[in-house]
Amino acid sequence: MTTPLLDITGDVCPMTFVKVKMGLQRIPPSGTLSVRLKEEALKNVISSLKTEGHRVTNVSREEGIFLLDVTKGG
């Protein structure tokens, strides 16, 4: 199964946060969601993921765009 990809590079806070939250709802526990986002969304998205018990398990970047693999918690 390929990892589902969520692109929030066109969104701003708080939609970045909302979309990631909704994206994770469609993923089973311990499943992975890839999220494409811009640098300015990094802090709020990652800190809210951590607060909600998810983990960022891989990070890659390409020309200012970051790709995060998010493993869904509990």
Partner: protein, 291 residues
């Protein structure tokens, strides 16, 4: 009434108005916090002795304007039972301002009202060469504008880097608002420049692996700020302090320095123009043993 009498009244928080015979009565407020019975008493006092008006000052204070001179003693007496004291003016330590701090604000790093109460208890109204303002921000978002004060404090998160957990993803470097983090994945090194770091903790909040961590969650001291006719911003002194007691000791030592070096009617920032900031830092460090 002589000018000297007016001056004495002013020191005690009774501010002469433009209109002869009327005074604006300044009240003692700490960190902008009043209990509702106090507010009711202030409301009643304004109705009874003023013109039913209250003025909110720029530094979280409250004044009751339009009080006739012959009612000044009565207004003071009327407010006393509710625990509302009369304020100060003149060459004294003024209202200590604070945000709501970490007990209320999700961004809060320190309990700013708690420190404000302590500073107020130790220093409010104490004589100094010129007016002296203390403002306490719970975090570096700095709602209380620490650098505008003679002494300002900010809640501050000093990060440290734990090499073993780091996978050099570069997120901390990307989120750092001041580019204080320099990552060289090739050498397996990450350097945080303490001179550039503004203590926001964004690197810690966004680190996926927990390798940027809190080293100190504490107090950063700024000195020499003022506004008025010739504004200048306070500069930071000392290392990040770890406890409320350390912050208090630093503030007391800064005041001692001002008392030793400040000329009458000279704001602290101007005193520091003469002495330089290093002299202040050396003095505070020697007096307190703080880093």
């Amino acid at each position: 009434m002589s000018e000297a009498d007016y001056k004495e009244l002013k020191k005690g928080g009774m501010m002469r108005q433009a209109e002869a015979g009327l005074f604006s009565v300044r009240l003692h407020v700490v960190g902008g916090r009043l209990a509702t019975p106090q507010l009711r008493a202030i409301q009643d006092a304004a109705d009874r002795f003023g013109r039913g008006e209250i003025h909110l000052t720029t530094r979280q204070g409250v004044e009751i304007p339009h009080v006739p001179q012959d009612a000044l003693a009565a207004v003071k007496e009327f407010l006393a039972p509710s625990g509302v004291g009369v304020g100060v003016c003149g060459p004294t330590v003024r209202t200590v301002t604070a945000c709501q701090g970490r007990r209320v604000c999700p961004s809060g790093v320190i309990d700013s009202p708690e420190l404000a109460v302590e500073v107020d208890r130790e220093l409010y109204g104490k004589p100094v060469p010129h007016k002296f303002k203390v403002g306490i921000s719970g975090c570096v978002s700095n709602c209380m504008k620490a650098e505008e004060n003679d002494v300002g404090i900010k809640g501050w998160i000093e990060p440290r880097w734990e090499e073993s957990a780091c996978d050099f993803c570069g997120i901390c470097e990307a989120v750092c608002p001041t580019k204080a983090i320099l990552l060289s994945a090739g050498d397996g090194k990450l350097v945080i420049d303490p001179a550039l770091c503004i203590g926001c903790g964004d690197c810690i909040a966004s680190c996926p692996t927990g390798s940027t961590r809190e080293k100190i969650r504490g107090y950063r001291v700024f000195a020499g700020g003022k506004f008025g006719r010739r504004p200048s911003l306070g500069k930071r002194i000392l290392e990040v302090l770890r406890t409320k007691e350390e912050a208090m000791a630093a503030i007391l030592a800064v005041l001692d320095f001002f008392r030793e070096h400040g000329k009458p009617r000279e704001r602290f920032g101007d005193t520091l123009q003469g002495t330089g900031f290093p002299a202040l830092e050396t003095f505070v460090k020697e007096r307190t043993g703080l880093p």
